[in-house]
Each structure stands twice: as structure tokens, then as C-alpha cells.
Amino acid sequence: MKWLTSLLTSSIGRKLIMALTGLFLCSFLVIHLIGNLQLLVDDGGVAFNDYAYFMTHFLPIKIVSYGLYAGIILHSIMGIALWLQNRKKKGVGYKGGKAQGSWASKNMGLLGTLILAFIFIHMGDFWFKMKFTDTLKMVSSEALGHDVKDLYKRVSIAFENPLIVIAYVIGQLVLAFHLWHGFASGFVTLGINNKKYTPIIETIGRVFAIVVPVGFVIIPILHYLGISF
């Protein structure tokens, strides 16, 4: 097993952990977005509440969700460790001018920390209240034939507050910058980089960095404005 520990603790190995967890979290974003778009359906939250019940009670999903928590924790701890270490390895910066490279690429540590703070607020508001408190009312589900927690109502209350809506807009803006660099960078780390594929991966990365945060951010905005479909 020495080969594995030496692989994962080397500079390239730590990049590998960042890339694998990062791309895994990207795949989660897609699933999360598709599920959340049900919040825009004009059915008083029936579809969304059934979906929330399914996501918290279906065993394979539960197993994947523990993988997700582990992914977030690993990506965060490793990211912060690398950020602190790299600052030390660079030492003194230059007075004469700034380093080349995109702003996002040079501020992944800061962006990531802000995203982590956002995740804490976001999970505290919905995930924690749904799983560990009885603050959510029960509503009957016709499709499931029993009562489910009314997470939809909790979301509606949250998104009536303009300050929370603004916090979500900022959170998604930060996520967009993080993805702008992170998506394509993950592939480079995995060694997938050549003339044929890199332009395609970079384009997908840029589109992903815009479409996903925009998708998330329209939910609180449209809720606040009272628009549903």
C-alpha cells in the first residue's frame, strides 16, 4: 500500500484528489439542479416534496449522499491545505505587478472557502431542518400514500426574504467563478489534455460554469417574484 500513500500524498496525487472530488461534485450539481427545478412547477410543491422524500429515503441515494458529504469534506480540507501550503512555498510576492492567469484560477482557495460557507448556510437552512428537526409541517402525498415533510413550504418562506435571495445570487456567482477554472482544470490534472479534446472540454467547462449557477439562481429569484410554470 506504500505506493498508494506515496501517490496520494505527492503533489500530483493531491491534485488528483482535488480533480476527482471536484468533478464528482460537478456531477452532483447537475442532479441537484434538475431536482430543484421542480420548485418552479406550479403544483403547490407536490412534485418537489415527493422528490425530497425519495431522495432522503431511497437506500442507493442515501449511500451516494454519504459519498457526497465525504467528497465535500475531502475537497475542502485538501483545498484549504494546498492553499495554505502554496502561499508558504511562494513566499514573498512581487511588488512590480500581478501574476498572469485568470482571476478565478488565482483565487480558487478564496472562492472555495466562500462556497463552503454558502454550503453551511444552505444545508443549515434546508437539509438540517428537514433531517434533524420537526419544524417542517407534514403534508399528505397522494402519489406515495402517506404524509411527507413539507420542504417546499420551507423553501418558499426562505425565498420570500430578499436578503436570502441576494445571498443565493452571490453564492452562485462565486460558484460560477470557481467552476470557470475548476471544471477544465480537473481534466488537465487527470492528464486529459491534447489538441483535439482540450478546446471541447474548455468550452463545456465555460458553458457549465454559466448554465448551472444561472439555473440555480433563477429558482430563488422566480420564487421571490412569484413566478412559476
Binding site: 512555498k89 511588488k95 501574476a99 482540450t198
Partner: protein, 247 residues
């Protein structure tokens, strides 16, 4: 042309350094290093200590010159070493800030001179090929595809100046190390040590205290030989393969 220079002065590795202001009269046809020569001659005439800076071939091929000019390793011109940078790219009355390479793995020896022997130790750890003694083989007896030869040659143009490390916000040496690994690994002569080389050179790079690459890409922008980022991706691939397949 009259210039104001802000130059980093530091007595030795442990001493505290600071910027000193100098005025110099230069000609636009001079190279950047010739301008510094003029400055130093003036300082010597006035019994003052000259500014220490590294230089050797002054042809852009040795990788010795190492100045961060206005925050950019080797100055503002693309694909150009500091010695090949000419004063015509500056204007009369400009203030130019000159700093040494900044990275913990490159300690300052004096003023603008840094100790880059960490690069030599990375090369010693695996940047070589084994050859049989006896009569030299006919070079043309080993067929190498043109594209592969071209890629190897491009990687081999790295002059090991350290601008990549100096440019990197993380102080990472991955562009240098990957270029040195790939230029040998791509060719048949380098295949013998392929797996061992990449593992040893990456281990040495980490041991020497370079930072971790986060794919910012500043190294490629500042590289006087425009070494491509693809080299880093290829090194990663080779490293994973070597680690996963080695016995």
C-alpha cells in the same frame, strides 16, 4: 532615455532586503542587461556597490538571466529572455521595478541572484538516458515519427531558467519538470527509464520544496521558450501510470 529603477537589494539569503532607487541613462538599442551594465559601471565609478544579477550567454539560450521586470519574469515581451529584451520596449521617463525570482525553493543569494540548484537536483534524480558504450549507433537507424520528434524537441527547448516557478503563484516547478521528463520520455532512447524517471523526478521536485500546481497557466505565459501546459498533463498521465503499474 532616462529611467528610474526600483531594484531589490539584499545582502545575502538571511538578510532583510529592500528596494533601492537608481537613475540610469540608457539607449533604446541596448538590451536590458546592457542597461544594467551601464548602471553598474556608474555605481563602480562612484565607489558604490553594483547590483548583483545573473547572466551568461546573453543569447537567450542558457537560462541564466533571471529578472522579474515590472512583476513579470523576463519582462513584458512574449517568448523572450531578459537578455533578449531591448530597451526600445520602454519609454523615456519610465519607472522599472526589478525583483529576483520569488519562490522558497529558490533562495536569494544576493540582490537579484537566486540559487536554482534545486533544478539541477531534479535533473540528477532522473533526467538522463542510459546508453551502451562502444561505437555510436547510426542516428537514422531508429525511426521516430515526425510529430513525436517535434513534440520532444519542443519540450527540450526548455532552458531551465526557472521563470515558470517565478511566475507561478504557488511556486510550482511542474512546467520545468514535465518538460524535462517528456523530452526524454517521448523518444525511444528515453523509454528504458520511463516509469522510474517520472516517479523519481516528481518525488525530487516535491522534496525540493516547490509548491503544488493548480493549473493557473502563468508559467506557460511567462516561459521564454513557450513550453506548453500539455507537458504537465502528460507528466500527470505518466506519473499515474507509473505508480499504478510499478511492481
Amino acid at each position: 532615455m532616462k529611467l528610474k529603477l526600483k531594484i531589490w537589494k539584499q545582502k545575502n539569503q538571511t538578510a532583510e532586503g529592500k528596494f533601492h532607487d537608481y537613475n540610469v541613462e540608457a539607449d533604446e538599442h541596448m538590451s536590458f542587461l546592457e542597461m544594467l551594465d551601464v548602471l553598474n559601471e556608474g555605481l563602480l565609478e562612484n565607489q558604490q556597490e553594483p547590483v548583483a544579477f545573473d547572466h551568461d550567454c546573453r543569447e537567450g539560450i542558457c537560462g541564466t538571466c533571471s529578472l522579474v521586470i515590472n512583476g513579470r519574469p523576463h519582462g513584458p515581451m512574449q517568448g523572450t529572455t531578459a537578455c533578449q529584451l531591448h530597451m526600445r520596449h520602454f519609454k523615456d521617463g519610465d519607472t522599472i521595478t526589478i525583483e529576483p525570482w520569488r519562490a522558497n525553493a529558490f533562495p536569494i543569494v544576493k540582490d537579484l541572484v537566486t540559487d536554482r540548484s534545486a533544478f539541477d537536483r531534479i535533473i540528477q534524480s532522473g533526467g538522463f538516458v542510459s546508453v551502451n558504450t562502444g561505437q555510436a549507433m547510426d542516428g537514422n537507424a531508429i525511426p521516430i515519427e515526425k510529430d513525436v520528434a517535434g513534440e520532444a524537441f519542443e519540450a527540450a527547448t526548455c532552458i531551465g531558467c526557472g521563470a515558470c516557478v517565478a511566475a507561478c503563484p504557488n511556486g510550482s516547478a511542474m512546467l520545468f519538470t514535465s518538460a524535462k521528463i517528456n523530452h526524454l520520455d517521448l523518444l525511444p532512447q528515453g523509454k528504458v527509464e520511463s516509469s522510474k524517471r517520472v516517479v523519481k523526478m516528481v518525488e525530487k521536485m516535491d522534496e525540493e520544496g516547490f509548491g503544488n500546481c493548480s493549473n493557473v497557466g502563468a508559467c506557460h505565459v511567462e516561459c521564454p521558450k513557450e513550453i506548453k501546459l500539455e507537458n504537465i498533463a502528460r507528466m500527470n498521465r505518466k506519473y499515474f501510470a507509473a505508480k499504478l503499474s510499478a511492481k
